[in-house]
Symmetry: C2
Subunit: 186 residues, 2 copies
């Protein structure tokens, strides 16, 4: 699997946008569909916007946490997981000035980011993509992609609500949410 | 200061190459000079190679360590610091599969990376640039740039030797070294 992933918002793509909103900071232009492209390719023609992120190494997981996550997590692309969400976020400059141990302290002991995520496995599959170090002009720091079956949508709503209520989220200055359905275009 | 830095090896640039060698893995084509360009600009014409990296946030420092480093570190660009070294390295895939706590254990308690660096401050100024998450095709994971005065060159030699003798360096699969002198081209 390629480390680089590009989400192109426009009139094309397998994922139809059913809801698009901004919870903090500037919105993204509204689009009908999102195409998910894997690989380090140039931005395709057309599309209102394109967001790129790269899969990277674990920054905060302790070894026991990673073992627990891996034991429960689901793969992307499950046929029944026809619902998806794309959550691009940007964190405040202050976040990036914290030390590793300060960020870890916020993410897990204080916010329970890992514990919250574990509760929704394997129903919700997740891929975290990093943008902060792709370049200086990136509009977001992280893109998180989630896939789940329609019957788990309300569980996913609770997951998002729980994450947004954490102390970690005090550092989020831009928070955009797209909800999508897998649906081939005509 | 721009987060993105580009080193262009060729016939131009303020830094004249006095020695260039590969300690592990493939060498870089030999060049006469290196130009250091700040900012997210396209690769300029000419030049045998171009290496890009981005300044990022601290991954491993504990808060007390960062305070100690900041209290002693020197700025880049000191007039007397006419010697420089560029050390591009690539770490094994195995390194990136470790968890954060496993990598930290290797870097500091076992390798003393921070303690070694502290011994050579403020004589040796240092800038660490990250390449691993710039894209999938990057030839190196890190570029480290050092600046020091000619009278501190032997201290710098000892610093490099000490770092290369650490357990952390067992994970380095490509290690290139360029020694340079600041010298305007004719």
């Amino acid at each position: 699997m390629s480390r680089m992933v590009q989400f192109v918002g426009g009139a094309r793509g397998e994922w139809r946008v059913v809801q698009q909103r901004s919870l903090a900071g500037a919105a993204l232009p509204a689009v009908e569909r999102v195409a998910l492209l894997r690989g380090d390719t140039p931005r395709p023609d057309g599309g209102a916007w394109s967001l790129r992120g790269i899969g990277s190494y674990d920054r905060y997981l302790h070894t026991t946490e990673r073992t627990a996550l891996r034991a429960r997590q689901a793969a992307l692309g499950r046929p029944q997981a026809s619902c998806a969400a794309l959550i691009p976020i940007r964190k405040r400059a202050q976040w990036w000035q914290l030390t590793q141990e300060e960020r870890r302290e916020i993410i897990e002991p204080r916010s329970g980011h890992v514990r919250i995520g574990l509760e929704y496995l394997p129903q919700v599959a997740r891929e975290l993509l990093h943008c902060h170090d792709l370049g200086e002009q990136e509009p977001f720091d992280f893109l998180t992609w989630f896939e789940f079956a329609p019957e788990h949508e309300s569980a996913f709503d609770r997951l998002l609500q729980a994450l947004r209520a954490t102390p970690e989220w005090d550092y989020v200055e831009r928070d955009v949410e797209l909800r999508l359905r897998r649906e081939r275009s005509a």
